[in-house]
Structure formats: C-alpha cells, structure tokens
C-alpha cells in the first residue's frame, strides 16, 4: 500500500531532494541574516537559535508542501468527469501514523531541550528573567536601571552615584545587567540590536543580562501597549569604548548634579503616588 506504491516513493524523493536543496540555503544564506544580528553575545546566540529552528522545520515544510502539490496534481479527478467515483476506502495506516508521531515527537523534544539549554547557557538569552534570574553571568557587571514611564525611558547608573540620564550609553566589552521597572503602566524595554526584551512592570525589578561587543548604535522601542503615545516611545542607544563611556558618564554626573538631590534614592523599584487617569 503506502510503502510499495510509486506515489509514496515519489513523495519521499521530493522530500529528500527538496530538503537537500533548501537546507544549505537555510543554513548558509538565510540563517546568518536572521535577526537580531551580531552586536552582542546574546544576539549571536539568538541568531543561532533561529537558524536551528529553521533547520528543524525545513524537512517538515518541504514534506507537507511537496505532498500537497503532488496530491493536487496527481490525485485530481480527471477533467470533465461528471459521474462521482469514490477513491479507495482507506481509513488509516498504522505504520505511517506511528512514523509521523515518532518524528514529530523527536523534533519537539529536541526543540524544547535545545531551547532550554540555550536559555540557561546564555544567561536568560537577553530576556527579562524576573528579579531572581536562574542563570547569571559570572564576573563584574555594570548595573543599569531602565525606568519606563508614560511615555519615555530613562536610565539610572547606581554605580555612578545613581545618576539618571535620558540617553542609554553602554561600554563595549562590559557585561551589563539591566534592571527594568516602571512608574505607571506596563511597558516593555526592547533593545533590538542588543537582543534584549524585558517588560517594565510597576513595583517589579525585571533583570536581563547582555554583553555588547560591537561599537555603534541600537534602536530602543516600547514593545507593550502603554497608552496614548505608545507609538512615539522610542529612543536610540549607543555602545562606545570604555574611555568614551567614562568621559560621557562624568559629563552626565556633572550636568545633573543639581537635580540629584531631588531624585529618590536608588531602589530596585519605585512607588510614586497613585496618579490615575493622567491621560
């Protein structure tokens, strides 16, 4: 039946040959161009992850699409056939059902195990991992607090006197710990090129780790609907050399020295007076 028929052999051949053609394209052409790029270790890890997902999907996609096209072309009732003629009464085929079950289960378990190891090996892979992340990078870290409020992000550097800046600047080659929190509604801090996304919840310290390696700029957008001007809540951050960073932070501290005494003391989260219906 299934295994002996020439239809089955042809579909198997289409799957194998199609996969053999598409797979190199996925690995060598599409994969390296997957988001979010190569600006940080975390981002590189995500590119690898995206590529592996594509590789696992490829044979299934080729099989199903190849089968569909083959079926529509070959199993079509002849044109002009007015009399209804039934196909064979086939109500199932245990070997192929088991084969499908085993194949998809193997793929799914592989994806889940691979995703978990990637998540732990990359210290949360740039995701907001809550106040107590399971996987932490070792060594010295630069803590940077990201404060979301309607409708902008501001940044505090607790190791530099808790200075609050309107611009996000990071030193290259330094492991950074983002502490994301909010003063009002839920926002989401999305630094696209860094491969970081972490929701900003009021009263919560949401931590994400990243190590920028490439000097340049990156886009910051709010990725959770936060009200009227959500569409305008974006920013550009910079990754600079260590010396440039020190110059910049010193200038910021000098510029905002007068404001410092009005700022609340640095804390993992803040509870401002409830101001409802501000918008």
């Amino acid at each position: 039946m299934w295994s002996r028929s020439s239809d089955g052999r042809r579909i198997a051949a289409i799957t194998v040959i199609g996969t053999a053609i598409v797979l190199p394209l996925v690995v060598f052409v599409l994969g390296p161009n997957m988001p979010p790029g190569k600006a940080t270790e975390v981002a590189k890890g995500q590119v690898t992850d995206n590529t592996v997902l594509l590789v696992v999907m490829t044979p299934f996609t080729v099989f199903i699409l190849g089968y569909l096209v083959y079926a529509i072309v070959v199993f079509r009732a002849p044109k002009g056939e007015t009399e209804l003629r039934d196909g064979a009464s086939m109500r199932g085929h245990m070997p192929s059902q088991i084969a499908w079950l085993v194949t998809t289960t193997a793929a799914v378990l592989f994806l889940a195990i691979f995703g978990t190891t990637e998540l732990l090996a990359n210290n949360g892979a740039g995701s907001g991992s809550g106040p107590n992340p399971v996987a932490k990078p070792s060594g010295a870290m630069l803590p940077v607090q990201v404060i979301g409020q309607q409708w902008e992000f501001t940044y505090r550097y607790p190791t530099y006197g808790g200075v609050e800046t309107a611009e996000l600047v990071l030193p290259a080659g330094q492991e950074v710990a983002f502490h994301v929190t909010s003063l009002d509604v839920v926002h989401s801090f999305w630094a696209y090129e860094l491969g970081v996304k972490a929701d900003a919840n009021p009263g919560v310290d949401n931590v994400a780790y990243v190590k920028p390696t490439k000097i340049g700029t990156f886009q910051i957008r709010c990725a959770e609907l936060c009200g009227l001007w959500h569409g305008y809540m974006f920013d550009t951050g910079r990754v600079v050399g260590a010396a440039d960073f020190n110059t910049w932070i010193a200038a910021q501290r000098k510029q905002f020295a007068g404001v410092e005494k009005y700022l609340p003391k640095y804390s993992p989260s803040y509870s401002p007076d409830p101001t409802f219906r501000a918008g």
Partner: protein, 622 residues
C-alpha cells in the same frame, strides 16, 4: 394590519426597550453616585452610571425580544410556549426564535455584519500605516481602532463557526430535532448582538487604549470607553459559556440510535472539544472582568500595583482564558477542514481516531501553555522551560490534524470546488501559522518576536488564515443547504484566489517586518520600513476588496439568480445532504437510525443512514 404586526416581541421592541433601559440605567447610576462619591462628580468619569446603563439596557433588550415571557407565564400559572416563532416567513429571523436552523442563519448574518465592521477597522489601521509618521488618525483614535478591531474579531469569531454552522448542523448530524436548550441557544445569539452594539458605543465615550488584551493597570487608567470593552467581553464570555454548555448537553444526550461516539462526524467532535474549552475558559475571563469592574467602579485594587494589587494577576487570568480562546477559534476550523476533505476527495476520513485524539489533545493542552505570553514579563524564571516544553508539545496534536488531512487526500479523486479550495488553503496558511509559532514558543527567539509584528502576523495566519478560510469553506459548502440556493461558482473562485493571494501578500511580509524590529500597535515606525508597510497596506486593501466580491456573490446568488441547490449537489454521504434544501422545520419525519460514520466512501453504504428516507420532500412539513 402590517403596522399592527410590528407591535409585539420582536427586534423593534427590543431596540426601543434597550435604548430606554440604557438611559434609565444612566439616570439611575448618576442617582447612586452623584451626591456620595466625590471622585466621580469631580472627574466627569462616571463608570458606575455607564455599567448600570449597559446592564439595564441589555436586560431591556432581552425583555423586548421576549426572553421574559416564559418565566412570567410560568409565574402566572399559564401554560408556557415551549417553542417560539417556529413558523415560516421572514419575521422569525427578527426576534426570539427557538428553531436551531433559524438561529444558525441569524448567527451567520449577525456575526457577519460585525466581522465586516472589524474588517473595516483593519482597513483604517492599514491606511494610517502607509506613512511612518502621523497620517490621519491621532494616537487615541488609532489605538481605539486597533482595540475595536482586535476585540470585535476575537469576541465575535469565538462563535464564528460554532454559531452558524454548529447550531444549524450539529442537531442534524446527530439526528436530533432541536438543541438541548433551544431558548438558551437563542439567548447566546442575542447576547452577542447586544455585546457588539455595546462595543461600538466605545467611540462615543472616547475609545479605549489597551488593545484586545486590556492589560492592567492601563485598563484602570483608561477613560469610560474602557467600560464598553469590559461589558462587551463579559457578555461574549457569558454567551460562550452558555453555547458550550448547550452544545455539550446536546451531543451527550440527544444522539439518535446508531450514532455512537465512534461515528460522530468529525465536525461534531471539534464542536465538543471547543465547547469544553468555552465552558472552562470563558468563566475565568468573566471573573477577571468582574474584578476589573470593581477596580474601576468601586475603587478596589486587584490589579493596581501601587495599592497592593498585581498587574501580573490580570495577565495570568487573561491569558488563562486567552490561550484556550485561540484554540476555541482554531478547532472548529479544523473540524470543517476534516469534514470537507473526505467529500471532495471521495475517500473516508483517514485516521479518524487520530483526528479525535488531536482535537481533544489540543483542548487539554491549551490550558497548560498560557504563560508563554509572559516569557519576557519577569515571571518566575524557573517555570519558563516547562511552558516552552508544553507549548512545543501542543504542536503534536496539531500535527495529527495535518497528517489526517494529508492521508485523506492520498489517492483520492480530488475535485477543486470552492469549499475544497478554501480547505486546501487552510492547510497552507495554518502550516505557516504553526511554523511561525515555533519561534514564539522558544524563549531566545521570542526575545525578538514577542510583541512585534511577527507575533501579530503569526496569529493572523492561524486565526484569519485558519478560522476565516474555514468559515468561508463552510459558507460555500453549507449555505446552499441552509438557503436552498447555489452560489455562483465563478465568482466564488475569483473570491478565493484574490483572497488567498492578497492574504499571503499581506501577512507574509508582516512576518519579515516583525523580524526587522517593528512592534505591534504603534502609530509610527522606522522610516526604512515604509516600502514594506506600503506593500502590506495595498495588499490589505485588495484583501478587503475580495470581501466585496463575496458580498456581491452572496446577494446575486441568494437574492437574484436563485439557482436551486437540489438535495445533494456535492455527493456527500453525510446526513444533512440527504435532507431537502432548505431543511424543513422539524428536520425529519421520524428520527433517523445511523449505520456508519459520515464517510463510507468507496464502501457499499449509500449514505451514513441505516434506513431511508427520513423525510419525504414532497410532503409539506408541519
């Protein structure tokens, strides 16, 4: 004479009493709050008045339709009418009618109208996005359009297939004359109509900024337009709960002789699985909305972080409903797919038990995956691997549906009719939707795709590409049975090809745009994405225009051309195609006896029935 017939319990009295009830409730709410609660008198935002107005308005609407007649007659000791308006004539479509076939057609037209409004909102959204900066809508109007589009579609389409097709065909398919609770069946429909109207009133109260997810605490900060969202979803949730209950009771208790569980048409199995989800998930939504109502109107703080509540609580409650919800949308589509493929492949459904397992498995698993919506929200990081695993495992039962569909096509005699084209397109669209979902289920990949246009395109591939394509497959397949008139096949094919190509040309690029870093629900975006967004907008307009072709086909073929369907134009072996078109009021002269499942293709049985005929077309029905 004709004027006098307008007076009574019908849509007219329902609208009059509904509007009167709204204003009575509005006045009552102000009497309650005006002098006592200074906050409301100071802010001009009287949530209590609006909630009371919606409540009294809905009650007035239902009383006007005649839902109070039965309990009142029982109280007065009069003999109650058990079946209402089960007669011929157009008037039965404009009021409370307990004939399941009338309710099915009411659902089709009523839900169709609201889906059309939701689609128009999508056109207006895409118009704004033709420029990276401001074009026509200000921030508030844009967010309201986004919110109404999402909420209307998610709310109305929950019953998009179960409403018209399950109400109409499940009793026929199991050999019953009616649903288990005909009055509740009518109630589920009219609740939806009240809900849709309430959602439209949000424009009069300033709209709401939260999208269909309505996250806290933004939903507490929002103005009175938010109350329309709450009332809408609560009524939809109530309607879903009752619909699920009614369907389950019907299928469990009212199957005809010979209709064993192993012979149930696969569409009925899909209905059963969906009904379980509706019954278990929708009450969670109603509770969450009740808490939100308390927060907004009575100053409690369930979801207010700054007063001791938690916005996570809302997110968890919402997605505990919200994830089963998307399978409530997807499962009936799978049922229609597997119901139609055997008919146009002329083969039995391949792997019936596997398909049933898949449907029940999806139903069970859908309650175990909801936290994948919160992967980057800062939830306890320990649980993420579990939700990654469970989310990826749910693709296994979905894979069962695919292998059953492919197996049914195997060596069939495929006829490319319009319903078959929509079914085959379902397979293509849902494949893309499912594969894009894998990126969202994997935490490292989800960091980029979460909350972006990628996730938006993903769920449009599964819901629009799955549910709406199945919806149209169902329309082209079953509406000729419901009305007795064929569709124009040429126009149907034009509709299909334009819709299919425009759909993929709209949402395929959106997957890429999401990968390139565009978040959802924004009114501005990076300049380099303008070319892609313009392409998408133009495709979306073509997609919208394809709906006009459908409307033209519907009106032309059902009102003007009127080519009679005959009993069984598709050559199906299922029972509904052994009955006259349209189906007579009492369905069968005598209750049928079933001899097989509906798929005895290539086998000796002429149809699934053990004895025929069950209805004589020549004889006028009572």
């Amino acid at each position: 004479m004709s004027l006098r017939r307008l007076i009574g319990f019908n849509l007219l009295s329902a609208v009059v009493l509904g509007v009167a009830g709204f204003y009575a409730g509005w006045w009552l709410g102000h009497q309650i709050t005006g002098p006592s609660i200074a906050y409301f008198s100071a802010t001009n935002q009287n949530d209590i008045a609006l909630f009371v107005a919606y409540l009294v308005g809905v009650v007035g609407f239902l009383v006007g339709l005649g839902f109070a007649n039965y309990p009142v007659q029982r109280l007065l000791g009069k003999p109650p009418t058990l079946r209402e308006k089960e007669q011929q004539g157009a008037a039965r479509y404009f009021g409370l009618c307990t004939d399941h076939k009338v309710v099915g057609i009411q659902y089709l037209l009523g839900i169709g109208a609201f889906i059309f409004i939701g689609g128009l909102n999508a056109m207006l959204i895409r118009f704004e996005l033709m420029r990276p900066t401001h074009l026509v809508w200000n921030g508030n109007n844009y967010l309201t359009l986004v919110g109404v589009h999402g909420t209307m579609m998610m709310g109305m389409m929950t019953s998009g297939i179960l409403g018209p097709f399950a109400n109409y065909f499940v009793p026929l398919m199991i050999g019953a004359r009616r649903m288990a609770f005909p009055r509740i069946e009518a109630l589920t429909f009219w609740l939806l109509m009240a809900a849709g109207t309430i959602l439209m009133t949000t424009f009069a109260f300033g709209g709401f900024p939260t999208g269909w997810t309505g996250y806290a605490p933004l939903n507490e900060q929002a103005n009175m337009g938010m109350d329309a969202y709450i009332a809408f979803f609560a009524l939809v949730g109530l309607s879903m709960t009752l619909l699920g209950l009614n369907m389950l009771a019907t299928v469990i208790t009212m199957r005809a002789p010979g209709m064993t569980w192993g012979r149930l048409p696969i569409f009925v199995w899909a209905t059963v699985s969906t009904s379980v989800l509706m019954l278990l998930a929708a009450p969670v939504l109603i509770s969450a909305l009740l808490m939100l109502t308390m927060d907004r109107a009575a100053q409690t703080s369930f979801f207010n972080d700054q007063a001791g509540g938690s916005s996570y609580l809302y997110e968890n409650l919402f997605w505990f409903f919200g994830h089963p919800e998307v399978y409530i949308l997807a499962l009936p589509g799978m049922g229609i797919l597997l119901e139609i493929l055997p008919v146009f492949s002329r083969k039995p459904l391949w792997g019936y038990r596997l398909a049933v397992t898949g449907m029940l498995g999806i139903g069970l698993m859908s309650f175990l995956v909801w936290q994948h919506h919160l992967f980057v929200s800062g939830i306890n990081a320990d649980v993420r691997p579990f939700y990654m695993l469970s989310t990826e495992i749910i693709s296994l039962p979905t894979g069962f549906i695919f292998i059953c569909a492919l197996g049914t096509l195997w060596k069939g005699r495929i006829r490319a009719t319009v319903p078959m084209l929509f079914s085959l397109a379902w397979l293509f669209n849902f494949l893309i939707g499912g594969l894009s979902g894998v990126f969202l289920s994997d935490v490292p990949s989800d960091v980029t795709t979460h909350g972006s246009f990628f996730s938006m395109a993903h769920f449009h591939y599964t819901i629009m590409g799955g549910l709406l394509f199945a919806f149209f497959a169902g329309i082209y397949y079953w509406v000729p049975k419901m009305t007795g008139y064929n569709f124009n096949e040429r126009l149907g094919k034009w509709h299909f090809w334009i819709m299919f190509l425009a759909f993929n040309s709209t949402f395929g690029p959106l997957l890429v745009i999401g990968f390139l870093g565009m978040p959802r629900r924004v009114v501005t975006y990076a300049g380099y994405l303008q070319g892609a967004n313009d392409w998408v907008s133009v495709s979306a307009f073509v997609l919208g225009a394809s709906m006009l072709i459908f409307l033209a086909n519907l009106i032309w073929s059902q009102v003007f051309a009127r080519v009679p369907t005959g009993v069984n134009p598709w050559g199906s072996k299922s029972i509904e195609w052994q009955l006259p078109s349209p189906v007579p009021v009492h369905n069968f002269d005598r209750i049928p006896t079933f001899g097989s499942d509906p798929y005895p293709y290539g086998e000796d049985a002429g149809s699934m029935l053990a004895q025929r005929p069950v209805v004589s077309p020549a004889r006028p029905t009572p």
